[in-house]
């Protein structure tokens, strides 16, 4: 299917999926956030290689985060929930704003969706406020029992001089 002929219902579906993911993150609803991912989901935040290119091969170049299964995300959630990491005691508040949704590819089984996100991260202790400027690319696949699951998510961090902590909830 070409982007020009995207069914408005499909667009609405994709938007709903993106907003649901953002909502789960901002509400610290980790279980529902993880449940949106397939077990073999790839989660990838490439690094920048120069002013305008990001790294392309995770086996020979650096990524900021690279997980080839959902397990990596589960570990990150577990670390936050353990309350043993200072990064989570307390967690900052976050707010995801998503715009510019484009259906790059779609058929009855899978769709690839690009969007832009601004994630506001607010540290209630210091009142420090940081905004992460992000480009998302989600690959969704139909789940066996109906509905859609995230098979891959690539996040390009546009403002890559990072603050001291950058984790999944702020991406």
């Amino acid at each position: 299917m070409t982007p020009a002929s995207v069914d408005p219902a499909l667009r609405a579906l994709a938007a709903d999926l993106l907003f649901r993911e953002a909502d789960a993150l901002d509400n610290q609803d980790w279980a529902n956030w993880l449940a949106m991912y397939r077990e073999d989901a790839r989660y990838w935040v490439p690094a920048w290689i120069d002013e305008h290119r990001t790294t392309a091969d995770p086996d020979t170049e650096l990524s900021l985060i690279y997980h080839t299964t959902r397990r990596g995300l589960e570990e990150r959630v577990g670390r936050i929930q353990s309350r043993k990491s200072i990064t989570a005691t307390p967690l900052p508040r976050t707010l995801h704003l998503i715009a510019g949704l484009t259906i790059a590819e779609a058929d009855t089984e899978a769709m690839r969706v690009r969007s832009n996100a601004a994630v506001h991260v607010y540290d209630a202790r210091t009142a420090a406020h940081h905004v992460a400027a992000l480009r998302y690319e989600h690959s969704f696949r139909c789940a066996p029992g109906g509905g859609w699951l995230i098979a891959a998510k690539t996040i390009v961090l546009v403002n890559d001089r990072m603050p001291s902590v950058v984790d999944f909830y702020a991406l």
Binding site: P58, R71, S85, T87, T126, S164
Partner: protein
Amino acid sequence: MTPKNADALIDDRPQDKVFGVDRSVFTDEAVFQDELRLIFEGTWVFVGLETQLPRPHSFFTTHIGRQPVLVMRDGEDKIGAFLNTCRHRGLILCPFRRGDQKFHTCRYHGWTYDSSGRNALVTDRQVGQYTPRFAQLDHDLVRVPRLAGYRGLLFASLNPDVPDLEEHLDEARTFIDLVLDQSPVGQVEFVPGDVTYTFQGNWKLQFENGLDFYHFQSTHSAYLDIVAKRFAEGTAGALSAEPEQEAPVQGSFNFRHGHAVNWSIKNTDNASGRKPLRLEVDAVRARVGATRAKWMLRQRNLTIFPNLQIIDVQSMQLRTWRPLAVGVTEITSHCLGIVGESAEARRLRIRNYEDFFNPTGLASSDDNLMFEYCQDGYAAEAGPTQGYERGLASRPDGAADYAAELGISPVESAVGELFFGGEMNFLPGYREWRRLLSRGRNR
């Protein structure tokens, strides 16, 4: 305010086994300005690797202290470091992080410099009605007074009055060698991909953290839980580790000019057992001998004062820093690749690096926040911290036997049980800090 002189900020009485650091070294604006001028712009600092300049006319940009710097390889393969500022009106000459260019043209009025820093063009010079004096002026880029390499690690100094680099590095060189000699061609390279971040704290918090084994179990307990779980489930990526034959200890060596290294010997070593070097250890051992191969497999955190740390654990990190303000520091973190290692070793190295280091990693993010809480805590006028006490009762040459294995004679050394967490390796940096600040202030 008249700042306390540097001698008063560091309470160093070796005879009485007393060492203390005044909290204001982390918070005082005047101290910070002196550090920029007298330390970062006053002694050798790490600027990069020769392998960042792979071809004639390759360049990269960086900073030395506050000052923008352009490092270039010229057409004759000579490397030079220059202030990255046009001689005409001062703007940044090269705006790019890195690249290959035979000439750098200033975007404002077109003055052009070649890769050896020589001025090649003063735009419309003939019709410029310059005085004869102009011809006498040097129009070339201003050269950083000292630039030298130690086995491909480039250091520069804006102050010409520094000892030769090898003398400056002292026996810390042995620990640089233990990194480089892991490569069959004796070279390391940065794995492509930039990682830069800031933390809201003084640069010395990172300096101290790299020297600090004491924090590991408490600061990183959430990470350690994850690793333990991976080992229990067989997903830790453990390679066939030969158990250490020697008793588990932690130790450190102190060198001249502020450098130090802390190292550990562990029997059940999560980090060492995951080292990519394990994949190639037989070849490495055949090349460098059993003793040095053994030391290559051990965790070693090397600190080259004032701005370089190489952390050789389950991956290898090179980090360097630029103080932006008394309470803001920019860190640049690199994954060090061993030139000539296998694709599998490189892949493991990268995965292990991403897992642990950087604001996005499962351990460095803990450290970074600790620095910020320290910086905020230093606002309390609660007297000197008690952070330089562990190991004060130890013999000053406690690890001499370990040093002898490597053929070195450190100025001081210490060794203790596995959770010793000695803090004596913080001392050389503060002694060099005090020497440089006192020297400058007395000028």
